[in-house]
């Protein structure tokens, strides 16, 4: 009797967790429905946000979300994949080992374990980047990053103001500080997944390349990175999904200006930051419109995440075939 109750309980809780996800999507969609009916697709392509005249459009927010996320992804991928290569090739351990060799203690019971331990410390440090809450990154961006980059940005604007990305000066929050902080926040995701992909490349491919006379870096660039490419791309896409939905750091750093700009130094806005800043004081009518914006954000992130997860699944299946 109690056996059947407990199994029923497990079964219904499993159903419940699926239903919760469906319910979340439907709840946001239904709340957005009146606004969708009233504003239609024009909501996505107009740029005014004026509660007094009852006109709403989120084109600047869509542009800002894409612009900041793509830029952060470029920086985050460069540094994230570099860190993944550094870790998967065991460079740190190699350097420490040859340093120990100079003192002839490389097989010492204590010092001999140092290379492995330091590699572990490095891995944990990168993971620690992901453990810091995003509001703390926002605080750090406001009081450290913005004052630090402001002189360089204003110098760039003075010397190269004709170049659109340097078109304005940085007076406070803006696109560039937001992008820098965002790229730091997505780096651990990219590094962790890329490292897994690089480590699972079959060693015989590396040996074959060495046997042909390739240098270690020729092997990395021509053999190992292409083999691990699917896994890395999957990780980058998941990081892209994170960047699109990231809220607090952007709400604090991007400047919340309802404008479409190419300039890295002028304020802009993103979908998530719009929700964070407008929701607490929204009136009943505005809530429906914000629900529409939330639905758009939900659609974009779900799409990106599903493609990323799908590619990762294919990548691990593909590597099993290569072994």
């Amino acid at each position: 009797m109690s056996d059947r109750v407990f199994r029923g309980l497990c079964y219904s809780f499993a159903w419940l967790s699926v239903l919760v996800v469906i319910f979340i999507v439907l709840r946001i969609a239904f709340a957005a429905a009146p606004a969708v009916r009233q504003y239609g697709l024009g909501f996505l392509t107009t740029r005014t946000w004026d509660p007094n005249q009852d006109q709403y459009g989120i084109l600047p927010e869509i542009w800002g979300t894409m612009y900041t996320s793509v830029l952060a992804l470029v920086i985050g991928t460069a540094f994230g994949v570099a860190a993944a290569i550094f870790m998967s090739e065991g460079y740190l351990g190699g350097i420490v080992f040859s340093a120990l060799k100079m003192f002839h203690v490389q097989f010492h019971p204590f010092w001999g374990k140092l290379p492995e331990r330091l590699e572990n410390v490095l891995k944990n440090l990168i993971e620690l980047l992901a453990a810091i809450p995003s509001v703390v990154y926002g605080l750090w961006g406001l009081f450290v990053v913005i004052p630090m980059i402001r002189p360089a940005c204003n110098w760039l604007h003075m010397k190269m103001g004709w170049f659109a990305p340097f078109g304005t000066d940085l007076s406070g929050p803006g696109v560039l500080p937001a992008v820098l902080v965002l790229s730091i926040m997505i780096l651990p995701t990219i590094t962790a997944i890329s490292r897994d992909a690089l480590v699972s490349v079959p060693p015989k491919l590396r040996m074959a390349a060495y046997g042909l006379g390739a240098t270690p870096w020729e092997t990395i660039l021509a053999v190992i990175l292409p083999t691990a490419a699917r896994g890395i791309v999957g990780g980058v896409l998941l990081a892209f999904g994170r960047a699109l939905g990231e809220t607090m750091a952007l709400a604090m750093l991007v400047g919340n200006a309802n404008s479409i700009t190419l300039s890295l130094f002028s304020p802009a806005n993103t979908l998530a930051a719009l929700l964070a800043n407008t929701f607490p004081e929204a009136q009943h009518k505005e809530v429906g419109i914000l629900m529409y914006a939330a639905l758009v954000l939900l659609g974009i992130t779900l799409l990106v995440n599903m493609i990323g997860a799908f590619i990762l699944q294919r990548a691990s299946a593909g590597l099993e075939g290569a072994k």
């Binding site: 056996d3 967790s17 709840r27 540094f79 290569i85 703390v136 750090w140 590094t191 607090m248 964070a276």
Partner: protein, 318 residues
């Protein structure tokens, strides 16, 4: 490679074994030598240093954040911070005792919602046969939630709890946060339960235990450290979440109580929202308090994380 001597092997070709006057015709031996004057070698060394430099640079922000937290937040740290209420603008002193209590209340409530749901769903997934439709649907739902933007959890809780109950409350915040905790708990618990050796399960069944008795007396206790790791990681993430709390539990300058009773249905302060609100204020005292609150929050998050990780190591050893 430099050890091969072209002059000594002139009689037999290494490729065909036939006598050959010049078996290495067309081989550029200088090209194979490891020498700093060769571009290949140089590029190899250069790229190694570039990658090492980029890794160091990527860790720079981490040290900067930690340094700033201890330098600017540590300065302000005192016992009063933990017992007093947030100061009004231009007021000196004060603390964020109510925000610490609020964060703990919200996280504990969120755990009470998500732990039973997550662990029992995980038990179902781990017990199901391969190709079970419902199990893969649950797994898919968990993966969708992993990449779910945290602000949307807030939007959902606003629509379901705040609008229905007529006001901002700690309970609404807990609902929003529990959605974000769910996937971590579910996926780690499933892994932990699957790692329980099959012979233990078979032994239990062999002794005549029902599926429930096997699950409750064998599977869950054995997988307990792993499940607890997942819960700890989820709690650590939840404690730092800000976006879902902005318009669900809102903020309050008072203790989360009405009269002498704990009140969960009123706006409640949390450390994360306090940091967000105070960081944007033009007052020195508030900004310093934001740094101190950030230090307290990061320490809470890191300690919870460390406990979780040490538990998972213990599981590996057993």
């Amino acid at each position: 490679m430099a050890a091969i001597d072209p002059a000594g092997s002139a009689q037999l070709s290494p490729l065909t074994g036939q006598p050959n006057s010049d078996p290495f015709a067309g081989v550029d031996f200088d090209e194979l030598e490891t020498s700093l004057r060769r571009p290949r070698t140089l590029i190899n060394i250069l790229l190694t240093w570039v990658v090492a430099g980029m890794t160091l640079l990527a860790l720079g922000p981490l040290f900067s954040v930690i340094w700033m937290l201890f330098w600017r937040g540590g300065k302000k740290l005192s016992l009063a911070l933990f017992t007093q209420l947030p100061p009004a603008p231009l007021e000196q002193g004060g603390g964020f005792g109510n925000a610490i209590v609020g964060t703990i209340i919200i996280v504990v409530m969120a755990a009470l919602i998500s732990v039973p749901l997550g662990v029992l769903s995980a038990l179902f997934m781990a017990q199901s046969k391969d190709g079970d439709r419902l199990a893969s649907a649950v797994r898919f739902a968990a993966k969708v939630l992993t990449g779910f933007p945290s602000i949307l959890a807030g939007v959902f809780a606003y629509g379901v709890v705040v609008l229905a109950s007529g006001g901002f409350s700690a309970f609404a915040g807990a609902v929003a946060v529990s959605i974000l905790m769910l996937p971590t708990i579910m996926l780690t618990a499933e892994d932990a339960i699957r790692m329980v050796p099959a012979r233990m399960k078979e032994a239990a069944i062999g002794m005549g235990a029902t599926k429930t008795q096997t699950a409750v007396m064998v599977l869950l206790p054995t997988a307990f450290p792993g499940i607890l790791t997942g819960i700890m990681l989820a709690v650590a993430r939840a404690a730092g979440e800000t976006a879902p709390l902005l318009f669900t539990s809102l903020f309050s300058s008072y203790w989360p109580a009405s009269g002498h009773h704990l009140n969960l249905m009123q706006p409640t302060a949390s450390l994360a929202v306090l940091i967000y609100n105070f960081a944007g204020m033009p007052f020195q005292n508030q900004v310093e308090m934001a740094w101190a609150a950030a230090l307290v929050m990061v320490l809470m998050v890191l300690i919870t994380n460390l406990i979780g990780q040490s538990l998972s190591q213990r599981q590996v050893q057993s």
